[in-house]
């Protein structure tokens, strides 16, 4: 109960918190910092691609090694240190206890430990930029032989000029990050299963909780083989074994299997929470229930199961058996069914509603639309025949940015702008929010539509300077690259608007009431911001999460906690 908790001191609140909301805040702020790092890395290699001869401002000359290191670390940082901590850890921590009517997580100290391991992993990753040879540079997938080494008479020889210490620290950082999210996910699932308040059945939960928990389960069950693969890789590099070295009787493709058995489910680990946020935000601003709640839950479970048997569509060009490629093409194309169901459910939730274009609603609707582009272009890549052409060119880059950017950033901005009043007790500035939304949508498409075209024309994603390939480097192709880079600069500058809005509103935005949107889920029953212990009484849940415009009800929203 709120009254029986003592209010934490500054250290207890911000340095070593046990409260789920403050741990969530730690994750959010760390991820925002890492997003700035990841954005800066993108700036370095995009500048090189647009103006290969000029030194990059703030960095200087970018050679092939530095370029590879920037690309590798951009992918690593954005997936593991931005998307996952924001979507799952920050909002999972903040929302789960509030949405189920609990005081805190099932294991608050385990929760604090998860963050501390995560912070350590981030520090190790950043430190890897400064070791001899620089950071890892063999792409975020860390394939051998690019990333493996051989040890001759005790001396380490990297293949193809790879990076030794940077790579070792990369493995260590990623492994710690996995441990952190495994512990965090176990905490999330246990909390959701055990700590729901009276009347809160599984099918009374908001969609965000379903999605965060399915994502946590998929993560916990997919990460194991890559943990094994990472240990084997570290042993190859540091001890001199030959698990992935054909010279010694090993198999480099094995690592690809271990990586993508995790890597493909990981994509859905990032996507699902964002779709959950959209599914909880759209009903609030369309004032009608989410369409097909149970169907979407069932199809998401189906999607989670399916995500374990599609991984080799990342390896069509790795020399796998064509019969196996056929099988993985079929399972991959089946994935479009659950995603189709989810996207149609989100769109149909708008149909006939009284739509309000608030900032979170704009993020949610545009997120669904942008994600659709990513999904549809995925069909070309999931088919083994057409993938022969598209493999490793900029079409692939544009495709996965159209899936991961809407999930990570549209999802995070939708969630941050929607739950900001609850989290900080203050409102964001609506005008700055709309300006930030509009510019981000324009610049995001401005970056990646040109890359679809350069990819279709054959530009390969691993080449840092196209001067040696005249037929690829036509003025038209070059102009598209320049457009993409200029839009990236615009996109990065636009985020300053968000940071300004976020920190100014946190300090001095207009105060928010407990339920500013007339929403129905349990977090809006707590004060804004919720005190330590969250609720002032034990809540009972009487109905589902999206009861808007119920015929015969006095108001157009029927909160879950009011009989």
């Amino acid at each position: 109960m709120g009254s029986s908790h003592h209010e934490p001191t500054f250290t207890e609140k911000y340095i070593f918190p046990l409260d789920h909301k403050n741990i969530g805040l730690q994750y959010l702020l760390t991820a925002m910092f890492m997003a700035c790092v990841g954005g800066f890395l993108a700036y370095v290699f995009r500048m090189k691609l647009a103006w290969a001869d000029a030194p990059v401002p703030l960095v200087g000359d970018v050679d092939g090694g530095l370029y590879n290191s920037m690309v590798t670390m951009h992918g690593t940082v954005m997936i593991f240190w931005v998307a996952m901590p924001t979507l799952i850890a920050a909002f999972g921590n903040f929302l789960i206890p509030l949405m189920i009517g609990a005081d805190d997580m099932a294991f608050p100290r385990l929760n604090r430990l998860s963050y501390q391991i995560f912070l350590l992993s981030a520090i190790i990753l950043i430190a890897s930029f400064f070791v001899p040879g620089g950071s890892a540079s063999g792409a975020w997938t860390f394939y051998p032989p690019l990333n493996s080494s051989k040890i001759v008479d005790g001396v380490v020889e990297m293949h193809n000029g790879g990076v030794y210490w940077g790579g070792n620290l990369w493995i260590l950082a990623v492994a710690l990050e996995f441990a952190s999210f495994l512990l965090g996910g176990i905490n999330f699932m246990t909390t959701t299963l055990n700590l729901r308040t009276k009347g809160m059945g599984l099918f009374q939960m908001p969609m965000s909780l379903w999605m965060i928990n399915i994502a946590s389960l998929v993560f916990a069950l997919s990460v194991g083989p890559l943990v094994a693969g990472a240990i084997m890789m570290l042993s190859d590099r540091m001890v001199g074994t030959g698990f992935f070295n054909p010279e010694l009787g090993g198999d480099p493709v094995l690592f690809q299997h271990l990586f993508w058995f995790f890597g493909h489910p990981e994509v859905y680990v990032v996507l699902l929470p964002a779709l959950g946020f959209f599914a909880d935000i759209i009903p609030v601003f369309a004032r009608k229930p989410f369409f097909g709640y149970r169907i979407v839950v069932y199809f998401t479970l189906f999607l989670g199961a399916l995500s374990f048997i599609v991984w080799a569509h990342h390896q069509f060009q790795a020399g796998i058996d064509p019969r196996m490629a056929n099988y993985f093409t079929i399972t991959t194309i089946i994935i479009s069914i659950p995603f189709g169901v989810m996207l149609f459910a989100l769109i149909l939730s708008l149909y006939g509603g009284s739509i309000r274009f608030t900032v979170p609603m704009l993020w949610a609707i545009s997120g669904v639309a942008e994600f659709l582009v990513g999904g549809i272009t995925g069909i070309h890549l999931g088919t083994s025949a057409s993938d022969i052409y598209f493999h490793d060119n900029y079409f692939v880059v544009a495709h996965f940015h159209y899936t991961l950017f809407p999930a990570t950033f549209f999802g995070a901005f939708a969630a941050i702008t929607f739950w900001f009043p609850k989290w900080f007790g203050r409102h964001l500035n609506e005008g700055l929010g709309k300006l930030h939304w509009m510019l981000t949508v324009v610049f995001f498409n401005g970056i990646f539509i040109p890359l679809f075209i350069t990819g279709l024309n054959g530009q390969h994603r691993r080449i840092y300077d196209y001067k040696a390939w005249d037929e690829m480097n036509t003025p038209a192709q070059h102009n598209l690259n320049v457009i993409a880079t200029i839009c990236l600069l615009g996109l990065l500058a636009t985020q300053l608007v968000f940071l300004l809005n976020f920190f100014r509103s946190w300090a001095s935005g207009p105060k928010a009431t407990a339920n500013p949107y007339n929403a129905t889920t349990l977090e809006w029953a707590a004060a804004s911001p919720p005190p330590h212990g969250n609720f002032d009484k034990v809540l009972t849940v009487y109905r589902g999460p999206h009861e808007y415009s119920v015929p015969g009800a006095k108001e157009d929203f029927s909160p879950q906690w009011i009989q």
């Binding site: 294991f107 996910g185 890559l226 001199g240 074994t241 009787g249 271990l258």
Partner: protein
């Protein structure tokens, strides 16, 4: 499908619940072991695929010490008996007896590690090192990761025995016991794969 509620208040005033009827610590342990299954699963399936692709590994497997592996399997299975007895003690609220049975388990775990250590040193001095071939790399990695789980289990059980001796936190006996059973189960899969399949 409305959830059950059996709200309990802890000493600090926090509400704990158990909607599933499974205590949170046990539930979390099951999730952890679900993840562990996939870690060992990844390792063992990689090994099995390699073994199928390399018939010559059978020659290497010929040198693993089946008798020692079998003795270790018996030791771990015996230790499981004492964990179960500790659990029964904990259910009777007999913390002192539970602690005693846990410490016997710990002793058997240590015996496993000592025997494994002798086995390693014997193999290394015979030239069967981690560098000899990928089979031996798998052998040392799989048994090493399993052994590190035994070490973690020994530490966890020792900590649990300390509180159980005072009659506190007796539910931990079962949670740690589940983990110990899992680690022993893994050996029962590792043993035939590395020692019996010659």
């Amino acid at each position: 499908m409305s959830a059950l509620t059996n709200d309990m208040r802890t000493a600090t005033g926090v509400i704990t619940r158990s909607n599933t009827g499974i205590p949170s610590s046990r539930l979390a342990m099951w999730f952890l072991l679900g993840g562990e299954v996939l870690i060992f699963g990844g390792l063992l399936v990689s090994y099995m695929m390699g073994r199928l692709a390399h018939p010559e590994w059978a020659e290497e497997a010929h040198h693993t010490a089946t008798t020692i592996g079998f003795i270790n399997a018996i030791i771990l299975l015996t230790s499981d008996l004492f964990v179960v007895m500790a659990h029964a003690d904990a259910q009777r609220k007999d913390g002192a007896s539970a602690a005693k049975n846990i410490m016997i388990t710990v002793a058997l775990g240590l015996a496993f590690l000592v025997i494994k250590g002798f086995e390693y040193s014997h193999e290394i001095s015979a030239g069967l090192t981690i560098h000899k071939s990928v089979f031996w790399a798998y052998y040392y990695l799989i048994t090493g990761i399993h052994g590190s789980h035994i070490v973690v289990g020994i530490i966890a059980l020792t900590l649990v025995a300390r509180t159980a001796k005072r009659g506190e936190q007796l539910q931990r006996v079962e949670t740690a016991g589940i983990y110990w059973h899992f680690v022993d189960m893994v050996w029962l899969i590792v043993f035939p794969l590395l020692y019996i399949a010659k």
